[in-house]
């Protein structure tokens, strides 16, 4: 459990960090809380030549309301800080998910930016950002761009980020008065990662029809995804149970020693149904 040799530098500013990443031509990796990169390095599965420590860049930390009503979460905000933040309490699915991410040490050190840049195919936060239609703001020495969560997660541990880009913030929609959300997961007991984790938002009900539904699923496919077939079924008037049956439509369902394809695909439908029910119950 000793990593290969690497250089370490603490970034003095965001610009400093971006310059160093650009200069390294892909051989440097950013480190914040270290909860994803360090275990990989200890197993020598990752061997960056240099770590650029962005952990003390205060400008990337904290939660605030933007002028347009959206909520911005700085990339270096820890899970623990999010749990304590008032604005975060507006999001039922974050209230559900945050206390169950990792353990106390992971929540004290781990950051939202680090989690989504790492893009573990079973981590909770990507499903939540997908369901919320969040925007991920990335910056490089070349400039800044906003990436929709729906086009951010490209594969297992693969994202739309370029090697010289850093996530600076995550922007969440302000949330409608008539929309509620929930997050539920069945976890692999060793790692705590999801066998199936489901973020569901639902609302805008008129009569017996749901005007809005969004569902993000993690742990099931090669990367977290929006279950658009479930969403269409719900807004099309299907029961939650019937809609949930579409949880894995078009998805290559993963298999490992904890859950094979058959079980994972089945349990995804159960968790989707329960997450929809839990979100809907919050409207009552």
């Amino acid at each position: 459990m000793i990593p290969a040799t690497f250089d370490y530098v603490r970034a003095r500013s965001l610009d400093d960090a971006l310059a160093r990443l650009a200069a390294s031509a892909g051989s440097a990796k950013a480190i914040a809380g270290g909860q994803s990169i360090l275990p990989l390095m200890k197993l020598r599965l990752a061997r960056p030549e240099m770590l650029v420590d962005i952990g003390r860049l205060a400008e990337l930390r904290g939660v605030r309301r933007l002028g347009d009503g959206r909520v911005s979460i700085g990339a270096l905000t820890t899970y623990d800080e999010m749990m304590a933040d008032e604005l975060i309490q507006l999001y039922g699915l974050l209230r559900d998910a945050l206390p169950n991410i990792g353990d106390v040490q992971v929540r004290n050190r781990g950051t939202i930016g680090g989690s989504i840049a790492h893009a573990d195919p079973a981590s909770d936060m990507p499903a939540i950002l997908l369901a919320l239609d969040a925007e991920i703001v990335a910056r490089s020495a070349r400039g800044e761009r906003a990436i929709p969560a729906t086009s951010f997660f490209e594969g297992a541990f693969v994202t739309a980020l370029e090697p010289d880009e850093l996530i600076t913030e995550i922007r969440l929609p302000g949330g409608g008065e008539d929309i509620r959300s929930a997050y539920l997961a069945i976890e692999q007991p060793a790692s705590g990662y999801s066998i199936a984790g489901v973020a569901a938002c639902i609302g805008a009900r008129s009569g017996d029809r749901w005007g809005f539904c969004s569902v993000g699923i993690t742990g099931v496919g090669e990367h977290p995804y929006r279950a658009s077939a479930v969403e269409a079924a719900v807004t099309g008037g299907a029961s939650f149970e019937d809609a949930a049956g579409h949880a894995c439509d078009g998805v290559a369902v993963a298999s490992d020693i904890h859950a094979d394809r058959e079980y994972r695909a089945h349990v995804a439908t159960v968790i989707v149904r329960r997450a929809l029910e839990a979100a809907a119950a919050r409207l009552e």
Binding site: A4, T5, I186, A190, I257, H258, E262, Y263, V267
Partner: protein, 800 residues
């Protein structure tokens, strides 16, 4: 008058240091000019080594030395507990060498060792060692390994058999099964576990060229035994030239009883670089690959009896996976410690067991908390439920009907405890099983089980109650039994203690047992304080170093309180006797007229004429006025060979709810009624039970070491091997009955393993009970959501 702390909930004196970061574990020890070793481990589960090229590694920065198997002049590691008996002479023993020479038998077997200035440099250099491998076919399943055509691991072990060993009455048992009204048969798997002590293993080796002596710091349960085995069997170095120090040990669960390849490696590494100290610390993944695993049985059971629930026969065939080479006492676990206690707390007239020990391409299997007895308890407790279900009998009623009655003790059990070879027999000396069962039934709500089931069904849950009535063999063991010729672990198993009362009246206790977190510094002080009438604060308990402690066999098998502390009680009695004689001299009285009350020695009839133990120690240490023939100083050593093991028992009841849709199991209630005899420190007993129960539940619900068919350990880290977490448990409800053990003066039995022995079967039985309404008879562990869901689907005739 000093308060007698024996039996009190005294806070552990070692915790001040252990929980404030002031413990001293192997990795905390940093010696002048210390170098570091890293061990290259095989990436293949089965392969021949064609050649090893270490030239690049030798040229790496900081590298001092590289060793391969051919560089090690030592013998293979010893195997000290052959199955013996009916298995006959075992001439097919294959144990690891310090480093493999020609071939490897599991992923993780050591093949080369680098010594470097830093641990990082040693690790880096491993990557520069080039090995030409010839991969061979692999087999990881013990039953499959014995089948024709299976890959063969060792030329001297056809069909990969280490031994086939039997115990009990084959003909009688076959007849009982043939004539029985009801016979139930079931294949059950007791899956492989990874023990996971919080501290992995690690050593520091130091060779002193000036004295030709070796010192090794090790995280061991048995420093004295390691010195003996390294000297006599591995290194060919005289025993008095080796010193073993096992400082604070951060948990062990059996894994640290044994002789490991890294012991000779670090000692030789130190010698080869001129006597600089050399440290090796095991990583967690390395621990998973190179330190022993536990359990791993495949068992075919047959249980026979009458329609009224009377069990008349039990026949068991078990394939015990022992790994690619044998660990120190691997064969002893599934034989003596398993098959001989298969009948548990029941009076079953005919019992027969056949155990086949098997080589496979997996890391070796040896004693893990409970060691054989959890496996036996799982077999008999599943069997009792299966039989009860077959005849439609209540699970509590069938246990009650077959318990060994209290008037039958001492009881010679038919599964062979009383038939050990060499003429030595042991008996279950005491027990009264029904009161513990009754208490557990009441506390768990078992009497209202049907109402609870119905209520749970309304919530979409299946609820089940699981009973586990157990006995265990603790306080191991009488030397003439455990060491019986031809069967036994080839050594004695007595224990030792030394007590010195210094001039200031302060007391130093040393002993041959070795704590790993159990709180011996507290409990020995409670016992010795009670015996000598001294406050605990005046007593220090020292251990861990073969230099400065009397020889002893170490701590495992729940033996320290019964065997080790009896030695301390005997040593205290010698101290008292000498103090009494000297008090008589000081008080000018006859020794027969001295009365001892706590630490006060007074003349019978003249209570004012008295001396305290401190006053006596002071005078006897100065020895200005010692009478003719009396040696100065209060310093006494005693050895104790126990006349019998101890026999804790009890009943645990688990209540689970199963989510039909996901298969997830929720442990909603857990009641444990244990009879561990008298208690030295009830708080420590509770802690042992909590930990043991959690470990056993871990096996039932979450834990499992998984090897791929190619011998790769798929559950190779804590990301894939699920250890129990506190938040997954309901409050554990503990209760007791107290039947003091007649074996030792304080009536204790030992409690280190009880929780783990009982709880696996309790929870597994509860899950199977919950699934019973679906027509499900038996589901193997670990009872993960996927496993349970698939069993439900199969029962419903859906996709399997």
């Amino acid at each position: 008058m000093t308060a007698d702390m024996l039996g009190q909930r005294v806070k552990r004196v070692e915790d001040q240091r252990l929980i404030t970061g002031r413990g001293r574990y192997v990795d905390d020890i940093k010696l002048q000019s210390m170098a570091h070793v890293a061990i290259l481990r095989s990436p293949y589960a089965h392969a021949n080594i064609r050649s090893i090229d270490t030239s690049l590694a030798r040229a790496m920065p900081g590298v001092l030395d590289v060793m391969v198997g051919a560089d090690v002049p030592y013998n293979p590691l010893p195997m000290a507990w052959p199955a013996g008996g009916s298995a006959g002479l075992q001439n097919n023993v294959n144990t690891p060498r310090a480093l493999a020479t020609d071939s490897v038998k599991w992923t993780g077997e050591g093949v080369a060792a680098v010594t470097a200035e830093t641990a990082e440099q040693a690790q880096d250099a491993l990557e520069a060692i080039v090995i030409d491998w010839e991969p061979l076919p692999t087999v990881v399943d013990a039953e499959k390994a014995t089948q024709p055509g299976a890959p063969q691991l060792h030329e001297n072990a056809p069909n990969n058999e280490v031994f086939t060993w039997t115990v009990g009455d084959r003909d009688g048992t076959d007849a009982a099964i043939r004539d029985a009204e009801v016979v139930v048969r079931q294949r059950i798997v007791n899956q492989r576990l990874i023990p996971n002590p919080m501290e992995t293993r690690g050593d520091i080796g130091l060779y002193n060229p000036g004295t030709d002596e070796y010192t090794i710091w090790m995280s061991s349960q048995t420093p004295h035994i390691q010195r003996l085995l390294l000297a006599a069997f591995v290194m060919g170095v005289p025993e008095h030239k080796i010193r073993c120090i096992s400082p604070d040990v951060g948990g062990a669960f059996g894994t640290k009883i044994f002789t490991y390849a890294d012991y000779p490696i670090v000692l030789l590494a130190s010698k080869r670089i001129g006597g600089r100290p050399v440290k090796w610390i095991e990583g967690r993944r390395e621990n998973y690959q190179a330190t022993i695993h536990g359990r791993d049985h495949i068992t075919y059971l047959e249980i026979a009896g009458k329609r009224d629930g009377e069990i008349t026969g039990l026949k068991v065939k078990t394939y015990a996976n022992l790994g690619g080479r044998l660990s120190t006492i691997g064969p002893g676990i599934p034989t003596t410690l398993y098959a001989r206690v298969l009948s548990g707390c029941y009076r079953i007239p005919n019992v027969f067991a056949e155990v086949t020990g098997v080589y496979t391409n997996t890391v070796f299997v040896d004693a893990y908390r409970g060691a054989g007895r959890p496996e036996a308890t799982y077999v008999i407790e599943r069997a009792m439920d299966l039989f009860a279900d077959e005849i439609g009998m209540d699970h509590a009623a069938i246990r009650r009907k077959n318990f060994i009655p209290p008037d039958q003790f001492p009881y010679e059990n038919p599964s062979g405890l009383g038939t050990a070879s060499g003429g030595a027999k042991i008996f279950i000396d005491s027990g009264n099983y029904e009161p513990a069962l009754n208490k557990a039934l009441v506390a768990s709500g078992y009497l209202d089980a049907e109402a609870a089931r119905a209520e749970a069904r309304k919530r979409g849950k299946y609820l089940g109650f699981g009973l586990s009535s157990y006995i265990e063999v603790c306080g191991v063991a009488p030397s003439k039994w455990i060491g019986a010729v031809g069967e036994g672990w080839g050594a004695a198993m007595w224990e030792s203690a030394n007590i010195r009362v210094h001039l200031t009246g302060k007391v130093v206790v040393t002993m041959g047992t070795q704590p790993q977190g159990q709180g011996h510094e507290t409990t020995y002080a409670q016992v010795v304080g009670h015996e000598l009438g001294l406050p605990m604060e005046d007593i220090v308990v020292q251990h861990s170093d073969t230099q400065g402690t009397p020889f002893g066999y170490g701590s495992y098998g729940s033996r320290t309180s019964s065997v080790g502390m009896t030695a301390a009680i005997k040593a205290a009695a010698k101290i008292r006797e000498k103090a009494r004689r000297y008090a008589a001299h000081m008080l000018e009285a006859s020794p027969d007229d001295i009365e001892v009350d706590g630490a006060t020695y007074s003349v019978k009839g003249s209570p004012d004429k008295k001396k305290t133990l401190q006053e006596i120690a002071f005078a006897l240490d100065l020895a200005f006025d010692a009478p003719e023939g009396m040696e100065p100083y209060l310093d006494e050593t005693a050895y104790h060979d126990t006349p019998n093991c101890t026999w804790p028992f009890g009943t645990h009841v688990a209540v689970v709810e199963i989510d039909e849709a996901t298969g997830a199991v929720d442990l909603v209630k857990y009641v444990a009624v244990d009879d561990v005899g008298n208690k030295i420190n009830p708080m420590i007993v509770d802690g042992q039970l909590h930990g043991g129960i959690a470990q056993g539940v871990g096996q039932a619900l979450w834990e499992g070491a998984v090897y791929g068919d190619d011998g790769q350990l798929l559950s190779g880290s804590m990301l894939d091997y699920a250890l129990p977490r506190a938040s997954w448990f309901p409050p554990l409800e503990l209760d007791e009955t107290v039947t003091p053990s007649p074996v030792n003066p304080i009536g204790v039995k030992g409690v280190g393993e009880a929780g783990a022995i009982a709880s696996t079967a309790a929870v597994a039985n509860a899950v199977n009970d919950a699934l019973r309404p679906l027509g499900i008879r038996h589901v193997d562990m670990p009872l993960t959501p996927q496993t349970v869901w698939k069993a439900i689907q199969a029962a419903k005739g859906g996709p399997a």
